[in-house]
């Protein structure tokens, strides 16, 4: 098997080359111990088996960034047979810097000059044979975005592999540094083949701790201090810094290649991307364009996606009905535990699967933004704002996905943080996105607003959806200056790559891969959590007294039904309890299915199905003659009675359950914020899936007699809450994490359960603290709900503004007899070291 590592600088089109070589069969995993994606693929080509691993894109091979460490680890530990280096043909001067680093490793290299089409558009003419001659390796040209070059690359890999005995290691003559390199090289006594000892020696001289540790672990006699001595010797003799010296050599070598092999036909002319940037990054147009792009993004993904769920939801509902059909049926108001469990699980999974259409669109759009080159431009435009709060320009998109407008979803938001170059800012963004306005929280707000703020609904909704931005920024500032303060930060230098038209294949592949991760990882864990929650809600169940009570209620409903239909023509068919139960289930099932059927043909088919199942029952459901109408009416009442009973049983069970007692025990604290145990339970259960907060609250306050009034009215009448209570609940909801799924994504993206726990308990603690304070102030000063919300809003806005202004107090002058450490010369270190 030929083991191939695909290496290249970011924006060199490396992933399109990988997609071109691999097709759709890609294996995605993480590099050991880190959250960097590792894509690989194995296939046969001309009687050889090739395994291609896509290394993370890196500008060089120093060890200051995670990606570089991962890539270097892979080369040293896995020792691939061939390195395929993807080079941006339109920019050889810079790309070849990495090529020379790769050549020095000693592993045979195949150079792929990618994006030849763009190079041609920019007026560049490359002499490929000459480059190949100068470097002494195979060089092939490709335009991966157009699907050109696959066979050439594979042929070059195979022939390089077959001739690898003839390959002699590549060396750059570093002149003055040569004696030092030779000395260090001679102290490495282990066999490192195929990795060149000389390369390891150079890396050690560069002060690359990762390489030094690696050599040390295998070669105990290796003397680190000798390297240091050599480094100091060089520094004092030639007054040159080794790293700068080496970098200059590599760039000069790249320059030599460029000047000898490339002819520039349009020298001095602006490229298409540069012209486009004059508009897109224009001082006055940049922000309107950004706003437009974000608006379109939001419209397509969230609004458009929701429309699609109108079509996909019936599929999920059909799945649910299918499961209900398979499970044992209920007998009037006695439901078997297994059926309850089955429905619970299907509901939990459906709630997550329902978002998949939105996610597919979202992930595809993100991929388009990434591949087109607009993403780094967003960061360029907004970095100044976000930086003040410890975030990064690249935090924009994750925060918008999380719900910067009327609502979003934390799951894609957190997933979109992957590209953020700065580790601290990336972590801060991951921890901040859950504070944005989750779409599934909206029904909860609507319920409370409808009940208590019917006249101020618009104002309240505006305050709710915009206050989240302030809160997110404040949290970002808090976490970056506390728990994340020691996290690595990277100097902000970000390539603004040439614009590209994304390939359809690339976009779809990325979107699908991300959705698949969601299905595979998130949905499976949520199912496990759902089982635990079910147990906590179901046990210990009803007491014997309560069982007795519900049994009496059930028989009473049956008696009513019996009385209503005695002397009826159909009485013989429904005289036993089992028969009635069957009919009732038949009736409910038909009604449920009929609701999901719209076309006349489908209705006809449904009718035929049910008629063939039970002709007499079907007549009763259809109710065409006076006797069957009577039965039908009685049946409707019975169905209503049953649903009421089932709800009561459910509520009683919740009250008795483990979760219920937790809710009660939490009252000790939450009572100071005005929450009773019912609200606690609603919050607890809502964490499983945000939507269920509404269902739980709604059913807890429903008035059993009055089925016709809406949940909002029932709540306003029956709960005994004031609008202050309601607003405190809303504020708590704003501050709490969206759902289990988003928390699991946090675990996936940070790699640690610890951060997931932090993301759960930090907001809850803060939330309850703020709510207690606001509730008591509200009580003391007699604030109305709206007033409380406005004070909260203004408070958050002021804190955010204050934090935003804070760090601008810096020494912004220079000159005079001053040490170099003062003033703007040391700005980078001052802000990023603390």
């Amino acid at each position: 098997m030929i083991k191939v590592a695909l290496a290249g600088q970011p924006n060199s089109g490396k992933s399109t080359v990988f997609n071109l070589l691999s097709g759709v069969y890609q294996h995605i995993a993480n590099y050991p111990g880190v959250t960097v994606d590792k894509k690989s693929t194995t296939f046969n080509y001309k009687y050889e088996t090739l395994e291609i691993v896509d290394l993370p894109g890196t500008y060089s091979f120093s060890s200051y960034s995670l990606e570089e460490r991962v890539a270097k680890d892979f080369l040293i530990d896995e020792k691939p047979d061939i390195i395929v280096n993807i080079v941006d043909a339109s920019n050889i001067k810079r790309s070849m810097y990495l090529t020379f680093s790769l050549l020095e490793t000693g592993i045979p290299v195949v150079v792929v000059l990618n994006m030849m089409d763009i190079a041609k558009d920019n007026g560049l003419e490359l002499d490929i044979a000459k480059i190949s001659n100068m470097l002494g390796v195979q060089v092939v040209s490709a335009s991966s975005a157009k699907g050109i070059g696959k066979d050439d690359i594979l042929d070059a890999i195979v022939s390089t592999y077959k001739n690898s005995e003839l390959y002699s290691p590549f060396e750059i003559n570093y002149e003055e540094l040569e004696p030092c390199i030779k000395d260090v090289e001679s102290t490495i006594s282990i066999n490192t083949a195929p990795i060149s000892k000389r390369w390891l020696a150079i890396k050690a001289l560069e002060g690359d701790t990762q390489v030094i540790v690696k050599i040390n672990s295998e070669d105990k006699s290796f003397d680190e201090s000798f390297v240091k001595t050599q480094e100091n010797f060089f520094h004092s003799t030639y007054d040159r810094d080794i790293n700068q010296f080496l970098a200059t050599f590599r760039y000069d070598s790249a320059d030599v290649i460029f000047h000898k092999t490339v002819i520039e036909h349009k020298k001095g002319e602006k490229t298409f991307s540069q012209k486009l940037d004059m508009v897109i990054l224009n001082r006055w147009l940049a922000f309107p364009i950004l706003a437009l792009v974000m608006f379109l993004f939001y419209q397509l993904a969230i609004v458009g996606g929701y429309k699609i769920t109108d079509y996909t939801w019936p599929l999920l509902a059909a799945f649910k009905n299918f499961v209900i059909g398979v499970l044992p049926e209920a007998s009037i108001a006695t439901v078997p535990l297994i059926s309850d469990f089955g429905v619970w699980m299907v509901n939990s999974v459906n709630a997550l699967l329902n978002y998949i259409p939105i996610f597919i669109i979202l992930f595809a759009l993100i991929a388009i933004l990434e591949d087109s080159g607009y993403m780094p431009r967003i960061a360029f435009l907004l970095d100044r704002v976000f930086r003040k709060f410890g975030l990064h320009g690249q935090s924009t998109l994750p925060l918008i996905l999380g719900g910067a407008f009327t609502g979003g979803c934390a799951v894609p938001g957190i997933m979109a943080t992957k590209g953020i170059a700065d580790e601290r800012a990336r972590m801060a963004t991951i921890l901040t996105v859950p504070y944005m306005n989750c779409l599934a929280k909206v029904p909860f707000y609507t319920l409370l607003l409808g009940a208590f703020f019917a006249s101020d609904m618009g104002v309240m909704m505006f305050l709710i959806s915009t206050v989240t931005i302030f809160i997110a920024l404040i949290v970002a500032k808090i976490v970056t200056s506390t728990v994340l303060v020691n996290r690595e930060t990277t100097p902000f230098m970000m390539e603004l790559p040439a614009y590209h038209i994304p390939t359809i294949k690339g976009v779809l592949l990325t979107a699908w891969q991300r959705v698949w991760i969601y299905i595979k990882k998130v949905v499976t864990i949520v199912m496990a959590v759902a089982v635990v929650l079910f147990v906590m809600l179901e046990f210990p169940g009803l007491s014997s007294d309560q069982k007795q009570y519900f049994a009496t209620q059930e028989s009473k409903a049956l008696e009513d039904f019996d009385k209503a239909i005695e002397n009826n023509l159909y009485y013989e068919q429904i005289k036993s309890k089992e028969m009635v139960a069957d009919l009732l289930n038949f009736y409910d099932l038909y009604r449920a299915k009929r609701m999901n059927t719209s076309t006349p043909e489908a209705v006809e088919k449904l009718d035929a199905d049910f008629e063939s199942k039970n002709k007499i029952f079907f007549e009763l459901v259809r109710a065409n003659d006076s006797d069957s109408k009577k039965v039908n009416r009685a049946l409707r009442n019975l169905s209503k009675d049953r649903n009421r009973l089932l709800r009561e049983i459910k509520d009683t069970k919740i009250e008795n359950s483990v979760l219920g007692s937790i809710g009660r025990s939490m009252e000790v604290v939450t009572m100071y914020a005005g929450f009773d145990w019912k609200i606690n339970i609603a919050f607890l259960s809502s964490f499983a899936a945000r939507e269920s907060a509404v269902a739980t609250l709604g059913s807890l306050y429903e008035n059993n007699k009055a089925d016709s009034i809406r949940a909002e009215e029932a709540m306003a009448q029956n709960s005994g809450y004031s609008d202050l209570h309601a607003v405190i609940m809303i504020i708590f909801m704003i501050l709490t994490p969206p759902c289990i799924a988003s928390m699991i994504v946090i675990k996936l993206q940070t790699g640690k359960y610890r951060w997931m726990m932090f993301a759960i308990f930090f907001p809850i603690t803060i939330g309850i603290g703020i709510c207690i304070a606001l509730f008591n102030m509200g009580l003391a000063y007699g604030w109305s709900g709206l007033e409380t919300m406005v004070y909260f809003y203004v408070g958050m806005a002021l804190i955010a503004t204050f934090l935003g202004i804070l760090p601008t107090k810096k020494i912004n002058w220079k000159g005079g007899f001053v040490p170099k450490t003062r003033g703007i010369h040391s700005n980078y270190e001052k802000y990023n070291k603390n």
Binding site: N243, T248, D383, I824
Partner: protein, 74 residues
């Protein structure tokens, strides 16, 4: 004079890199090597960061980082 002090559209040559090993290495890897030329393309609409053109490509760099790059005008 540092890169931070330059106007939009000015050309310069890199003289010296200040700062700790980590940031200097990053400068080198991104193409900011002494004696190479660069052009300040534009300021971001909010003034920070700035976009520069060097070694045939465009790169955004924050002003706090740019102030570590000592340059001479061309």
């Amino acid at each position: 004079m540092s890169l931070n002090d330059l106007e939009e559209g000015s050309f310069c040559i890199i003289k010296k890199l200040d700062g700790d090993k980590k940031i200097v290495q990053k400068f080198l890897d991104m193409g900011f090597v002494p004696n190479s030329e660069l052009k300040v393309v534009r300021n971001a609409p909010l003034f920070d960061p700035i976009e520069v053109h060097l070694k045939g490509y465009n790169i955004a760099i924050r002003r706090s980082e740019a102030s570590n790059i000592q340059v001479g005008l061309l």
